[in-house]
Symmetry: C2
Subunit: 561 residues, 2 copies
């Protein structure tokens, strides 16, 4: 496995060996390490000194289920700190087949007139003129690239939002069917890719050989064990495949953690119309191209993704995930899955993070720019955003900036990033994660909501969050989906898979050490970027306003953190 370094100033590409001290680093551990080593904390995130790093995991491309997530990292234009955002799709898998562990985009093109496609196949990598794709939505871009390079490719790409340096732009990855839907959505990394003038990376693995383990027998033995665990654990075997992430709404609505009308309460009267059951029923009733279970990456046996069809059975969007449903649904007072699906499609096509979009719309609704629940207006505004309206530009800059532009003080965001679909007053462990994670408000940075604890009480939540953050970092650093964590508790099993696949010594202790050092590296980077413990806090209103659904405010303060 190699590093592919793309110098945009010279338009040159070179392959490098992975430094030996990084050989067990992959996913988030690798993106954060390279950024920390090579990027100054004080550089402009959209200038020549930032770098975009794309890395897969140590087990990418293997038959290990759910192990081909793709990590993308940079100094974030949204948080000003270090960022890693990971997603599914077929791109990490194809990178592995092409022998690539990480791609580094660095420097700045001499002119800002051209756009490039980075095309990689078994012969090598090259930069191709991609200007003809400028300003096309991600779906049209994908169609054009499929037409040119065949359907059997992986594509990492940005939409118009990324090209226009919108600081909430995401980077999307094609799924198994070639649908550009698997977003590394958070932190505005699409703008960093846009600042590098690369609008698509095409991974053409035609003619490559499958990724092979070093110790075949041992690997097979451990793989069997791993697969059996996933197949025998109720959550990964039944819950996730049936309801997907949308099953979460049943939990959050019950405990008062479902953001409703810009986090003004935690239970939503329309929840039953948009929850996991409603989603499942709608998809199965409509049939057609719809699918209530779907693998987002090659070889995933959990299959928690879905394909959401319209009334005629044609795909409206795929997937429709809990975060999007809640942030565009209850948070905006919308109880209509079709409207949410349409908005999700628009965001995907424009290339913008749905969580930040929903969070920002909630802020605008609080201000009365549009009314809560006004589905017509929100769709109209989203469509105008695609055409470049000024309001759309404000939305594309995220919730914090929308709040500053319109004078809204109730903005649910931490370190510049809008909050995902859990009210931190009702899931205090996650509230601690929002406060302290180097990533800003991020549910994947250490979610505690599935633990069997009293989430609205403050007891032990700091410790609980710490463990959750460590666990999340561990999975992110292996490119393994955090959903696997529900089934595979034994980290030595993961270490064994890595050892037998790579031939490198690995153990639970080593994996924990890597996760810990990754968090430390990230915190250190953030310090050098001017983000200190002063920024480890929630917005003021979570401390001063109780959540009416359970009567509690957030009460874990500085001295506890």
């Amino acid at each position: 496995m190699l590093l592919l370094r793309v110098d945009l100033a010279e338009l040159k590409i070179k392959k490098e060996n992975i430094p030996s001290e990084y050989r067990l680093f992959s996913g988030r551990a690798l993106t954060s390490r390279i950024i920390s080593d090579e990027v100054s904390g004080t550089c402009h995130p959209l200038g020549p000194f930032n770098k975009l790093v794309i890395a897969n995991g140590l087990l990418a491309g293997t038959p290990v289920s759910s192990a081909s997530r793709i990590s993308i990292g940079a100094k974030s234009p949204l948080t000003s700190g270090i960022k890693e955002s990971n997603g599914g799709g077929n791109t990490a898998y194809k990178m592995a087949r092409l022998g690539i562990r990480a791609i580094i985009l660095e420097g700045e093109t001499k002119t800002k007139s051209n756009w490039y496609i980075l095309y990689i196949n078994k012969e090598g990598a090259k930069l191709i003129d991609g200007s003809y794709l400028e300003n096309k939505g991600t779906y049209d871009k994908t169609d054009a690239l499929h037409e040119q390079y065949g359907k059997n490719i992986g594509i990492i790409l940005i939409g118009p939002a990324g090209e226009q340096l919108s600081i909430t732009a995401g980077i999307t990855n094609t799924d198994i069917e070639g649908n550009p839907s698997r977003y590394c959505g958070r932190g505005g990394l699409g703008a960093v890719m846009g600042s590098k003038r690369i609008l698509a990376i095409v991974l053409d693995d035609a003619g490559t050989s499958p990724v092979k383990p070093v110790e075949t027998d041992n690997f097979k033995y451990l793989l069997k064990k791993y697969t059996a665990l996933i197949r025998s654990t109720p959550q990964t075997a039944e819950g996730f495949p049936k309801y997907g992430t949308a099953g979460m709404m049943e939990i959050t609505n019950t405990i008062g953690a479902l953001p409703t009308r810009n986090f003004s309460t935690g239970t939503f009267e329309g929840a039953a119309k948009i929850n996991g059951q409603a989603l499942y029923d709608t998809i199965t009733e409509r049939g057609g191209e719809g699918a209530s279970t779907h693998a987002c990456m090659p070889g995933c046996i959990i299959r928690c993704s879905n394909r959401y069809p319209d009334k005629d059975g044609k795909i409206l969007v795929s997937p429709l995930e809990y975060e999007t449903i809640a942030m565009l649904g209850s948070n905006c007072d919308i109880d209509d899955l079709d409207v949410i699906a349409k908005l999700n499609y628009i965001c995907n096509d424009y290339g913008i993070d749905t969580i930040e979009f929903g969070c920002t719309i909630g802020v605008l609704m609080e201000k009365g720019i549009m009314a809560f629940g006004d589905t017509k207006e929100i769709v109209k505004v989203a469509e105008e955003m695609q055409k470049g309206s000024y309001l759309g530009k404000i939305i594309g800059a995220g919730s914090i900036i929308a709040g500053q532009v319109f004078g809204v003080t109730r903005v649910p965001a931490v370190k510049g990033q809008g909050m995902p679909a859990y009210d931190p007053r009702s899931v205090k462990g996650l509230g601690v994660t929002y406060s302290t994670s180097p990533m800003g408000a991020d549910h994947t940075a250490g979610n505690t909501v599935r633990l069997n604890i009293k989430h609205h009480l403050k007891d032990n939540q700091v410790e609980i969050s710490k463990n959750a953050q460590l666990g999340a970092t561990l999975f992110d650093s292996l490119g393994i989906c955090i959903m696997v964590g529900a089934a595979v508790k034994d980290k030595n099993l993961l270490a064994g898979l890595i050892s037998s696949h790579t031939g490198l010594a690995c153990s639970e202790d080593i994996l924990i050490e890597i996760a810990l050092s990754t968090l430390t590296t990230e915190k250190k980077f953030n310090n050098s970027a001017g983000i200190t413990s002063v920024h480890d806090r929630l917005p003021e209103f979570f401390y001063t306003e109780v959540n009416p659904s359970n009567g509690v405010a957030f009460d874990i303060f500085d001295q506890d953190l």
Copy 2:
């Protein structure tokens, strides 16, 4: 002299004695001290825990020339740090006659439906319903208040920008003629006043007695000396009165420090059409209500202000200052004083900082939102801003946010605040001040441009800036105009005036100690607000791009600061 504390939550007002340790604190020293003592660095600047502090100087209301500036301070919604912005006008003077050293607005009203006027006369202070003034421009508001309370009042007020919590909104003060034109413009303090739901403070000093010194003879003797110095120094006696601050353009254009087309160069081909001479000639030729020299506050003998008339001799705006002329002129490629005056009027009426406005328009022009030099479009956009357009909302949020919304990386701002009219590559001492001042990019925080040094060389600039910052803080902390500094070098003369006026022991050492401790207090507050030495830097492009007018980049780095 007393503190007037206005509790908006309870709608109660009380008078307090000034704590004895604060008796020599006035102006910026007092606003920064109270904020530092009473406001948490992490509070939301537009929430219930911020406070707006308005203070005059120790010599306010006396016949000491130029000693009735008004300081306004708060945690800034623009910089997130502590802010003091001071201006001229008649309000500090009238506060002194009413026996008030400082007004503190604190808390948050229980509902957000009413607006208040804080009315103060010799009988006391009260909150009056001011909702009928909502959304009126500052000129209309002033007319209405004059009609109600007579012409002989002082008014501290905000425009629609402040009401709407625009984070670049200023607070204006009436001048001697009652014109609401003397802005405490920087740092978005108008939004803090708006968040307190107070749209005007009326100071009615009818029936009050003149402010009297404790030691009349000594005071008179020193006052004579002070006045003689101002009258005999060429700058204060001739240069400032004739050309006002606009005389600066001759200097900056010569040394390549005049921001031109969003700081892309430092000399402007149209400078001769908008410089001090052009301004003087236009005003004198047009005659009518115009005046090339004008006192902004009672008793000022420097009279560096002006009244700018249209072709028919009717006042277009008063005053027209260098910062506004340069930021709306050369920085936007506009060489027409009438257009600049019109834009200045619109900004004043809407209640927004002209420096930030010009800086933001420069950023938008760089992006092509409007063309450099397109006077029609800029006036149209400004007029739409008054009506609440989305583009106007973006402009009202300042240059940093405009850059983030539109993906512009060349944004001339430090600590959130747009740069005033001096290119830091060409005035490196001021560049150090921009970098390190607790106030963000602020020319009044320690300007070095009038010193007889090689401004484009880095030698000793850190030391030079340090002295300039200390000097500026000293004058700001006395409510004395920094223009006086050109004539009165002997701080013991200032100390003597204070001693003889107040009866308190004072000396040059004490004044320097107060200035130093003010800077330290401000830095400490900023640290508690998450602003560290990492934020002590200019935007990246000043280090990487040379200023074409003199071939130098900014080259004073972290280790030097």
